[in-house]
Each structure stands twice: as structure tokens, then as C-alpha cells.
């Protein structure tokens, strides 16, 4: 970090929800529609305070449900407003239909998803089942590992979303980050203004030039009234997939620019901890990956060459980066705070898919941990890695099913 940047730093003690709200405020959002749900509620409270006190020139639209919250954001974004929403678990599930709509309409919304377990049974505590369940809605998904990453990711999310017209979900662990305070360097408003240009919508509401948006679009391309051969439904789906596939380049460029202005570089899809000489690699997302760095250090002390691969971006999935990072590994231990019932943890499946066709022949072990806020400590991660090392002697590259760290 150079001195010029260090001098400008403005470090405050913030919890994750305050960091997310402040990120939205610094991004000068114009419309906010959100419905309170634990553990996201303080985000909405903080933003409504900003608006009420006149610190943020935005419309705060009170709604009766999360479905309506996202519908309001979709409409506002369509007519040219920078919009923000936040939710958790059942609220996100209730938004499901509009998640598809936002991505399909190519609207650059940004959402904070405060990760919480899904019922039944009711549980308000943390796991990542909620956002993982929305994997295929066409949103970019970023997982923050600490509160600094939350504020930084929200600001970057607008620049990414508005460059490629794809909505971005910034996910962070409920309570573990949302309600835990830690030092956060708050970017200066004038620097954020320099970094983030005003939103230029690709859709315009103009009574003098009326347009139909997202009307019935049949399967095949069709010549419209102006004689242009217009995309059919499937062409539009292809373009969304193409945008997600190519978004990596934009995310890295935006992360680099952010680093130049604020001194914290995000020119990566995943981050590394002590991977240089590691032959055992722990893979995880969010705050769990931070816990894994403690486990890796403990295992290093015991003489094992262990490092951590922290997945910062889950969609688009960083296949090439994962293969590159894992190329010298002989054991990969994937910890998932989610379960794709009937198979395994979602990140484990992605890691395996990324390695198919690559020269990497590492054994892979998957552990399901921390569901419904179940505490997972570094020493439990250490035990899991030690068990995996022992089981490698059986010569199995892959196990039929994941192991669960719980009492069954």
C-alpha cells in the first residue's frame, strides 16, 4: 500500500450489515426497496436512516414482500435508476421468480444476500443454502470473507453489473459477518465517484418513443415491424450465458481499477493462503475460508504443506483459475456450508467439474459443515484434513458421498 493511499484511509469499526449499507450509500443508489428479514434487517434500517436524514438522495420504497421488493428494483432499474436491495434465506427464495426476471431483462441490480439457513425447520442462523439454491438464475455471485470485502464488493458490483448488464449478488455469512464488528477502511465519496460513473440504462422509458420490453418472445427469431430479424427466446438466453462467461474479464479489470484507487486489489476470482508449496489444499467460500486459514496454519505447524483456496466468485465459476491453483496438489479438501441433496456440496461438484480433462489427479474429499449456524472450529477443519490424509492411503481419488461434521 503506498503512502498516499494510507494517508487517506478512514478506518471505522463496522459490522457486515453496516458495511453493506454504506457500500450502497457510497455508490449513490437512487432507489432502495427491501423487506426486513433476520439477519439482513439492519441493512434496511441503516439505509432508511440515511434517506430520512437526507444523507442519501434516494427513494426508499416500502413494500409488503421480497417478491415486490425485487419487482420494484426491476422496474426502477428499467427506467434508469441505480437500485439496491438486500435479503436472506426465505426472502431470497420468495424473490426467486424476480431473480430470473432481473437477469433475463439484463438489469444491473445489486443485492446483498446475508446468508442464512432455509427452513423447515425454522432456523435464522448461517449457512449458504439460500444463495446456492439461486445459482442458476443468471446472477453473478460474490462471497465476501470479511466486512472490508463486503463494502468493497458492493461498490465494485455496480461497476461490474452496469458494464455488462448482469445483476450481482454480494453474499456474506449471517451473524458471523453481518453482526460481527471489525475494522473497515471506508472509501472516500469523491474516490467512489471517480471510480463509479453514472448508470447508463440500455432500456429507456420515453413517452415520445414508446417501446415494448420483455414482451412475449417466441422460440425462433422473427422479423419485427421495422424489418429487423429479432432474437428469439433462445438467442436471448445464449447472450445471457455469453455475458456471464465473459464477465470474468470485466470483474478482474474492475478489481484492478479498484485496487489502484483504494489500495485493495481484487484482480482475482479466488484468493490464496500459503499455496506456494502446498500439496494439500483446503477449498471454501466466505468466512469459512477465513477459518480454514487458521486450520492451514495449524496443519503447517504439524509439518503438513497445507494452503487455502478461497472462492470469492461462485458465478461465473473460475474454472481455469481453480485448475491453475490446484495443479500441484495431491489432496483437495472441500468444505461446503450447503448440500445439493442426493449428491454432495455444491462447491465440491464445481471443483470436480473444473478438474475434469485437466492433468490434476488430486484426491478430493468433501465435508458438509456449519449448516443452520452449527459452529465449525479450525480444529475440526484440521481433524477433517487429517482424516482425509489417512483415507488417501486407501487410494480412493473420490468418495461416493460427502462426510458430515455433525453427530450422526
Amino acid at each position: 500500500m503506498n503512502k498516499k493511499i494510507a494517508k487517506k484511509s478512514n478506518i471505522r469499526i463496522l459490522d457486515g450489515n453496516q458495511a453493506a449499507a454504506l457500500g450502497a450509500k457510497l455508490s449513490r443508489v437512487q432507489v432502495i426497496a427491501a423487506y426486513p428479514i433476520t439477519p439482513q434487517s439492519p441493512v434496511t434500517e441503516k439505509l432508511s436512516e440515511f434517506v430520512e436524514r437526507g444523507e442519501l438522495d434516494a427513494q426508499y420504497i416500502a413494500v409488503e414482500s421480497e417478491h415486490s421488493a425485487l419487482a420494484v428494483c426491476v422496474s426502477a432499474s428499467m427506467v434508469g435508476a441505480r437500485t439496491f436491495t438486500a435479503t436472506s434465506a426465505h426472502g431470497l427464495a420468495y424473490m426467486h421468480e424476480m431473480l430470473h426476471w432481473a437477469a433475463g431483462a439484463r438489469l444491473p441490480l445489486v443485492m446483498a444476500c446475508v446468508n442464512r439457513a432455509m427452513g423447515a425447520p425454522w432456523n435464522i442462523l448461517n449457512d449458504q443454502q439460500d444463495s446456492i439454491s439461486q445459482r442458476d438464475t443468471g446472477w453473478i455471485q460474490i462471497y465476501a470473507r470479511n466486512n472490508q470485502e463486503i463494502i468493497d464488493s458492493v461498490i465494485q458490483a455496480y461497476k461490474i453489473a452496469e458494464s455488462i448488464y448482469v445483476p450481482v449478488m454480494v453474499c456474506y455469512d449471517g451473524f458471523i459477518l453481518s453482526h460481527t464488528e471489525m475494522p473497515v477502511d471506508i472509501p472516500a465519496q469523491e474516490d467512489v465517484d471517480k471510480f463509479l460513473p453514472p448508470y447508463k440504462p440500455h432500456t429507456v422509458l420515453d413517452p415520445a418513443n414508446p417501446r415494448n420490453y420483455n414482451l412475449v418472445t417466441l422460440a425462433n427469431p422473427r422479423v419485427n415491424s421495422e424489418g429487423v430479424l429479432c432474437h428469439g427466446y433462445m438467442e436471448l438466453r445464449y447472450l445471457l450465458q455469453e455475458a456471464l462467461q465473459n464477465s470474468k474479464e470485466t470483474m478482474i479489470k474492475v478489481g484492478q481499477e479498484f485496487g489502484q484507487l483504494f489500495g485493495r486489489n481484487y484482480a482475482n476470482m479466488c484468493w490464496e493462503h500459503r499455496l506456494d508449496d502446498a500439496d494439500v489444499v483446503i477449498v471454501a467460500m466466505g468466512s469459512l475460508a477465513m477459518e480454514a486459514t487458521v486450520a492451514a496454519d495449524m496443519l503447517r505447524k504439524a509439518g503438513h504443506k497445507v494452503g487455502v483456496l478461497g472462492l470469492r466468485v461462485f458465478r461465473p465459476f473460475p474454472k481455469t483459475e481453480v485448475v491453475k491453483v490446484l495443479k500441484n496438489s495431491c489432496l483437495v479438501v472441500v468444505f461446503d456450508k450447503n448440500i445439493s441433496y442426493g449428491l454432495e456440496g455444491a462447491t465440491c461438484s464445481e471443483i470436480k467439474a473444473a478438474l475434469y480433462g485437466s492433468p490434476v489427479r488430486a484426491a478430493i474429499r468433501n465435508f458438509i459443515v456449519g449448516l443452520g449456524g452449527r459452529d465449525i472450529k479450525a480444529r475440526e477443519l484440521v481433524d477433517a484434513v487429517n482424516r482425509s490424509l489417512l483415507s488417501m492411503k486407501e487410494g480412493d481419488l473420490n468418495k461416493e458421498s460427502p462426510e458430515w461434521i455433525c453427530d450422526i
Binding site: A105, R211, N212, N214, T217, E226, H231, E235, L239
Partner: protein, 102 residues
């Protein structure tokens, strides 16, 4: 991709007749008007027009006699339901002979 001349990244068009395609292709039965029974046709002056009023797709003209645009009529049958003279009957497409358009 063969349709890259289209610059849109989401479904988009200008409002115009036929922007949703020839919706008449969706139809499985079409409205057939018996001009002998139609009040308008019999009286030859502006009167009933209930079919024109109720048509959800605005494909019935406010003329004497009314004309139904079968390129866009989806065959919902509302006109046949609301006609006070029972002058409109719905005929299955596969049963329609050469007399389809009156």
C-alpha cells in the same frame, strides 16, 4: 449465431400490429358470423357492436358489417358468447372448409 444484426440484449420492440407474431396461428377454432342474424348487418345502422367492444385483441372492426381479422384472432370465443343474436358460432379449424372466411 445467425441473428446478430439484432442489437437487443433483452426482449424489446416498438409497439406495432403483429409484434407478438401472427397470433391467429394460436387458434384452434374461429368465429363464423351469420350475417342473416347479425343485428348490425340486418339494420344497416350503428347499433349493437358488442363483439367489437368485448374482443380482447381488438381484431373486430367497428364497421357495418364488422370484419374479424383472422390473422390475429386467437379464437377465444368471447364474441360468440356476448352476441345477443347468436349470430357468431365457433367452428373448429379442422372442420372448416373453403367457406372459412364467410
Amino acid at each position: 449465431m445467425g441473428t446478430r444484426e439484432c442489437q437487443h440484449i433483452c426482449g424489446e420492440s416498438s409497439p406495432a400490429i403483429g409484434e407478438a407474431g401472427k397470433t391467429g396461428e394460436w387458434r384452434n377454432s374461429f368465429p363464423k358470423i351469420d350475417r342473416e342474424r347479425c343485428l348490425l348487418a340486418k339494420q344497416s345502422k350503428p347499433s349493437c357492436f358488442l363483439c367489437w367492444l368485448y374482443c380482447p385483441d381488438a381484431v373486430i372492426s367497428k364497421t357495418i358489417p364488422v370484419e374479424i381479422n383472422l390473422e390475429y384472432c386467437k379464437g377465444c370465443g368471447i364474441c360468440a358468447q356476448v352476441c345477443p343474436a347468436g349470430a357468431i358460432t365457433m367452428v373448429f379449424e379442422h372442420e372448416a372448409g373453403a367457406d372459412k372466411k364467410d
